[in-house]
Amino acid sequence: MKKYLDTRTIIFLIIMAGMAVAPFLTNPYQLRILISCELNMIFAMSLNLLMGIGGTVSFGHAAFYSIGAYTTACLWYHFGWDYSTNFLLVVLITGLAGLLLALPMSRITGRYVTIITLSFAEIVNLIIRNWDPVTLGQMGIVGIPNITLFGYRFKTKIQFFYFALIFVFITYILMKWLVDSKLGRNLQAMRDDSIAAEAMGIRLFPNKVIVFTISAIFAGIAGSLYAHLMTYVEPATFNANLSFTCISIVVVGGLGNFTGTLIGALFLTILPEYLRRFDFLFKYRMIAYGLVLVIVMWLNHSIPGLKLKQGFAAFFRKLLHRKAAEEEV
């Protein structure tokens, strides 16, 4: 039976409650990592909408993140605007960028879409690198202040933490509303079988445009928060690694599972920080990402809930079988 409070919602509420008390239990360094977690949560949820619900594998999601970060940074640098106005422009500009990327989707499908997203990210990065008058090119923009809302500047990172937490909450709820609506169902139908979806009267292209736009907006919001957290932005940050980290988070959490994405973001943001103390491990963290991806794909696409248990069971059964088979030989 379908219940009002399902397991995923309960886990989500537990995570939110845990995050809400976290600032009282952590030192500034840990708090900073938790803020990174929050940004990754928003970022990865936006990608999960595109990948898990929309069925489009994007290797260039960092593009929207960087557009969001640079929009707010440039507006601050050139005009001194505060975040309340910057936010609206971030939404507008990243939304338009998402729309732009969606335009070729009327003609191409499948793996070609992935290639297009990859090249889109490279193009965006090249523009940021070379548009010196606006983005200051390779130097990056330095000294971005903490978030300012209607003239009130946040004084501590704790305020920033709660501000970002509100965004995590809003993003999650919006995604949940979207998935449980006509639009969400239509997107999932297109993901599962585009021909059958078309036969049911779903117009593919407009829906693709909508999902790209919404996804881009939330990635942009995460990026804009990033700029204010780090106080500087430079082109090198927004490389392909960022996109791949984001994909890892989504896949670890499970495609289409937003609660899983939150857990994946916590896991894959805290783990590398923890590994930092073992220097040789930190160096090879991208290998660890790759390994985690492979293992999780193997374990049935999803971490939270029962599937993990079944996945591990299957994993060990496979191992045992292999051993038995080898012994027989």
Binding site: L178, S181, I202
Partner: protein, 261 residues
């Protein structure tokens, strides 16, 4: 006036004429079957009717309205709904969601109102759930409501696909080989079920290879060969048509068949 009128429908793929100057009509309250040997162009005809292909020539008139070359979403809203030869369910979605997709064009709120709760969305979702309950009752799948669609046994998947097409409230239901892969008992049950569907829709266009099923339930049969119509009429007329027998058995086979009678 006929329910569906197909006039001189033609489509060419390069040099191949897949459907050649096809004309037939469907009457209200009847099951019309489209048969023919493999590669005769039956599925192409369905693709033409439902807007997947645009015909090079000819007209499709549904209940007095010209729907020639209309896109799929318009065709669905005008009242043509289809199933597929190889079952095409939305595999990662529940049975309920599959039905809801079938009625999506009748749900009266758009993409923007999908993003947040509002009275219109809540009301439509409630109505949609009620209709889903009714249609699941109709196709006898109520107890599978929250199951994943692909976890159903084969026969139930067929029924779900028909339910999904039915919930769109079509005037004409297009069934593309619904009996494929079924055993005789299931086929028997299916033919009764298809017959009963005439209570829900005005007409049914059936494509099927199982001749017993076709002869049992059709009011009218259209026979295609190499994209062209070779015969049209009641089951018994078609059965005795020399050209039809030749198309299925070949000239020599037809000769032997006549001799053995």
């Amino acid at each position: 006036m006929s329910l569906l009128e197909v006039k001189n429908l033609t489509i060419r793929f390069g040099g191949l004429v897949a459907v050649d100057d096809l004309s037939f009509t469907m009457e209200e309250g009847q099951i019309t079957s489209l048969i023919g040997p493999n590669g005769a162009g039956k599925t192409t005809v369905i693709n033409l009717l439902t807007g997947f292909y645009t015909p090079n020539e000819g007209k499709v008139i549904l209940d007095g309205e010209d729907i020639t070359g209309a896109s799929t979403d318009i065709v669905v809203s005008k009242g043509l709904s289809r199933t597929f030869q190889n079952i095409r369910l939305f595999s990662n979605m529940t049975v309920e969601d599959n039905i809801l997709i079938g009625m999506q064009h009748r749900i009266g709120y758009g993409s923007f109102l999908s993003l947040f709760p509002n009275p219109k969305k809540i009301e439509w979702e409630k109505r949609a759930k009620e209709e889903t309950t009714a249609i699941l009752e109709r196709v006898d799948l109520s107890k599978y409501r929250y199951e994943k669609s692909t976890s159903l046994p084969y026969g139930k998947q067929r029924k779900l696909e028909i339910g999904r097409a039915l919930v769109a409230k079509p005037k004409i239901l297009l069934l593309d080989e619904p009996a494929a892969g079924m055993n005789p008992v299931e086929k028997k049950e299916l033919s009764l079920f298809i017959r009963s569907l005439l209570k829900d829709v005005k007409g049914i266009l059936l494509i099927e290879h199982d001749m017993k099923l076709v002869m049992d339930i059709s009011d009218k049969i259209v026979v295609l060969n190499h994209g062209a119509k070779i015969c049209e009429g009641k089951p018994e007329e078609v059965q005795n048509n020399q050209e039809v027998i030749e198309a299925y058995l070949g000239r020599k086979g037809a000769h032997n068949n006549a001799a053995s009678k």
